[in-house]
């Protein structure tokens, strides 16, 4: 390959090959520079800007020496793919499984993860969603502080490792979604600003300066992001992208970055002849994201829906801290099971302002929303990263997963959730910069101290033990303690796939009834009903029609005409006559 780089900031760019330096040739007016010579796959190189220290390529495809070291030339065409039969997968109708490569297995690599794919397939999963794999500083981290956006993190196995992983998934009929971060870059190893105007001086995000998507020079910054998205889908055969925190992408242009990205991804999907999808993590409750461009939207495939999660979590756990303060009643949950925006132009106490916008529930299918009982954030952003299974009864967990798997949304599990993993998933980092490391540690402690935690109870993110504690224990799914919950998930997923009523995405088809005092809830999905007894004692729950057959139940539920006699804290999925 011939190194090229967009670097409008310096007036001189050299290609540093270790033994020699070669002047890069400026391309007319564009800010781009091109090397006069080709590099072979595997050759190390760096750029020197105006004679400064060597810097990695902002579009390096391989950073085997980490985010500060030399880039290595990488030829996408050398990998021999074995997924020729793969025809892609639609998001609608799928069940997702979110996993973090570093803690999914003790080895923390793609290759080790491949060995666990049969477990995932056996569970009934359609798509694994991988937390960010772009290169970040230090070996360990969640991945949201990536700086080498085009280079797969070397400790996970680098670019070839990720290809082997995707290939192995596809060969098992599993799709792959990838989490990508375009709202900021990490605080360590970020040399982008030396190359050009990657950052915007007028806006900031909670994690650092906002990326310059609408100011001077932003055309090439946008291409850096959009080309990155296209690369994962095209060169790594990824099926969909999860776009991290799009509410922190500040773009004032008439054509929003996300619209540009969606348009280009759509073009690629046509060329590749397989579905490719974009899912936004969004704290906006704004239908514009998932509305077509013809109707004034950005044209994304779907978005994460936090509100149904919050409604489930707050009801099941009784927790009301932070964003749970707006949730907790049965009514809120019942609404959230067919209204993905709890806040739709209405007051949010958590935000101290009105939030969101009404959604046209008659026209927007539930398959445009991904939801969960757990995701990495909702576990890892707790002080000790404790999973719901460590503070909630098995009975309530089963109720939660049944409601999730019977929802009109696209359900997602977080790795280990299916067996009630006892390992926490904590916030861990391994920044090599001392000041940043100290700040991260201190920031984390202060955050939770302000919520009443004593500092000793909040794990140190930089301590390797914090990371190690977060690694899944693969002995667990084989143990009796965990097998029932694992089977429950397997059965729920199988039921979801065998019953079209459950994947029916039309929100107005979901009918709910409940009794806030008696603590029961019934969700009607066509000829099926999901009945929940949340009370601490048995009760008869009216399902509104004569029960035909109990398809699945978490306890000794008995039918009785139009009622179900349900033990305390049980759920049953039944057919109706």
């Amino acid at each position: 390959m011939k190194p090229r780089v967009w670097a409008p900031a310096p007036s001189e760019v050299e290609l540093d090959l270790g033994s020699q330096r070669i002047a890069m040739i400026p391309q007319e007016q564009s800010g781009w520079w091109e090397s006069p010579t080709e590099l072979d796959h595997g050759a190390d190189y760096a750029f020197r800007l105006d004679g400064g220290d060597p810097r990695p390529d902002p579009r390096a495809l391989w950073l085997p020496n980490g985010v500060h070291g030399a880039s290595r030339a990488y030829d996408h065409d050398r990998y021999r793919w074995g997924d020729g039969d793969w025809r892609g997968v639609q998001l609608a109708g799928s069940v997702l499984y979110e996993l973090h490569i570093g803690t999914f297995t003790p080895e923390g690599t793609f290759d080790a993860a491949i060995d666990k794919l049969d477990h995932v397939v056996d569970l009934g999963i359609d798509v694994v969603e991988v937390l960010p794999v772009a290169s970040y500083d230090g070996p360990r981290g969640w991945g949201y502080d990536g700086v080498g956006l085009y280079a797969v993190h070397e400790p996970y196995g680098g670019p070839d490792g990720f290809k082997r992983f995707v290939d192995a998934c596809h060969q098992r009929n599993l799709g792959v979604a990838l989490d990508v971060v375009y709202n900021h870059v990490g605080p360590v190893g970020n040399y982008l600003g030396e190359f050009g105007p990657y950052f915007n001086e007028h806006y900031s995000t909670p994690w650092g300066p906002a990326i310059n998507y609408s100011g001077r020079g932003s055309d090439d910054v946008r291409r850096w992001a959009v080309d990155n998205a296209l690369m994962w889908l095209r060169d790594f055969h990824v099926d969909g992208l999860r776009l991290d925190a799009v509410h922190a992408i500040i773009d004032t242009r008439a054509i929003h970055l996300l619209e540009e990205m969606a348009r280009d991804v759509e073009t690629l999907a046509t060329q590749e002849n397989r579905p490719l999808w974009l899912v936004a993590e969004s704290d906006l409750n704004d239908p514009r994201l998932i509305t077509t461009p013809e109707a004034g939207g950005y044209g994304l495939t779907a978005q994460w829906a936090d509100d149904p999660h919050h409604a489930l979590h707050a009801l099941l756990t009784g927790e009301r801290q932070g964003y749970y303060c707006d949730f907790g009643s049965l009514q809120t949950l019942a609404d959230a099971l067919s209204s993905p925006y709890h806040h739709a132009g209405t007051w949010s106490a958590f935000r101290g302002r009105t939030h969101g916008r009404p959604l046209d529930r008659g026209n927007v299918p539930g398959s445009r929303f991904v939801t969960y009982l757990h995701n990495h954030d909702q576990v890892g952003n707790r002080a000790t990263g404790d999973r719901m299974s460590s503070y909630l009864s098995r009975e309530r967990l089963m109720i939660g997963s049944a409601l999730l798997m019977c929802s009109p949304y696209v359900p997602m599990l977080f790795m280990g959730e299916e067996w009630g993993a006892t390992t926490p998933w904590q916030f861990f980092t391994s920044f090599t910069d001392r000041d940043i490391a100290k700040n991260v540690k201190r920031g984390r402690r202060h955050e939770f101290e302000s919520h009443g935690w004593s500092s000793g109870d909040v794990p140190d993110p930089q301590d390797p033990a914090t990371f190690e504690r977060s690694i899944l224990d693969w002995a667990e799914p084989g143990k009796d303690d965990h097998r029932a919950l694992l089977d429950w998930h397997r059965e729920l997923i199988a039921l979801r796939k065998s019953r079209p009523e459950l994947t029916d995405p039309w929100l107005l088809d979901v009918q709910t009834s409940y009794d806030e005092d008696e603590r029961w809830l019934v969700v009607r999905r066509g000829g099926l009903a999901v009945a929940v007894n949340l009370a601490g004692q048995p009760q008869a729950v009216p399902v509104g029609a004569t029960v035909d057959e109990i398809l699945l139940a978490s306890g000794d539920v008995e039918t009785g005409g139009t009622q179900l006699r349900m033990p305390a804290e049980t759920v049953a999925i039944v057919t109706l006559r």
Copy 2:
């Protein structure tokens, strides 16, 4: 009136009446405080927050002692309106006249301005558009650094003065538009931050911190802006608002401030049973602003269109500095006369990035765009505030105004333009804060030094002489030197009103032909043609059909079949057979 104030920041608010202090009563949970006692119209009051210095009411209706002094209670109902016959005015079909109260007359007051309204009426104007009248620091200024958004600037005549002005306009069948600024507040006299979270820490504008329209506490900040818009329309009988620099309003909510404002203004228009309109100054070239909410837009009535101005200015003057660098050819002008967005997802050299978005010219009428040969910015932001008439031939000025008045857009004149005023309109301020005054002076000088001006040639904004030079000389319109141009404008406006082809807003109906080398341009508007000879010598200009009658010409134009024989630098408006 009973003083009320939104002040969630302090834990104690007192009403300071000079002789006594009264504790304000907090309204449950809302951040609002209410006085236990009523105040009469004319009573002075201030607020003390947590025992601090007295501060003016953020919604003060009267600030007779300036932006730092006490607020004075004001009862809107005391004014006796005489405009009962006024039924409102549509923006579409109107000709606008922009004026600045402080420099429109030597007195610089509303009452003095009333005396000049007959001139405006005689010219054929439908709507006068008044530069901001909200209270700002110091007596003199353009008005864009207002801090008392609800109080009419006292040196202009205060709230009663503005009412007399609007009343007088309406009685002369003139509509009134008002320029309002919701993107920032001025640097001096801004105590808003002491009351509550009016400002956003994550974003900044070129003129200071961004207003908090989407963060915590923003509901009441939005009401402060929206209620202000409603007040001008309802209580001052204003017909439309010009929203300053909406591109600098940062709002990440699913329902944008401008959409909320447009919705509330629409409701008020229904209640008042007269047209009320919102026009955005926007540097976005984004159709979303003027698209209906049903189609994903904000629902504003119109926006200012700078691109047609730039195209006209650059062609007529040959200037290419600053934003004119993207303009200058006859083709650009010909396009701009039916495409208000020159940049529509295309490269802008001035911005160093791609800009804008295509407009559906088949469905968006030209009446959604206000344009001009001059506006206050394009004059006043020049180093010496020199008007086009001081550096352009009378012939070219006449060509420019003819093209403006024959365009499918809503044309606007800047006060004095109609007679080719020799008075400049310079940048003037009168900040009472020494540091700010020094910075403004220095900033202005530096800005133009970087463009090659010597500092002595750039007027000092704080010098009263700069302001005085900018006052119109009303002896001029009566002088022979100026009468021809004044008559020309009067005739053009009369022609525009008598010929429906000229107010036809449909952009696809505008047909242009031109010859870049021969320097001629023809604009066809139905059965009319506007022919321009920009060459330095006479030439025959083909109009594409047989000429019937010359309706108006700036020189000795003669017909000859399908051609016009035109002297150098002339324009003619003709009917076609």
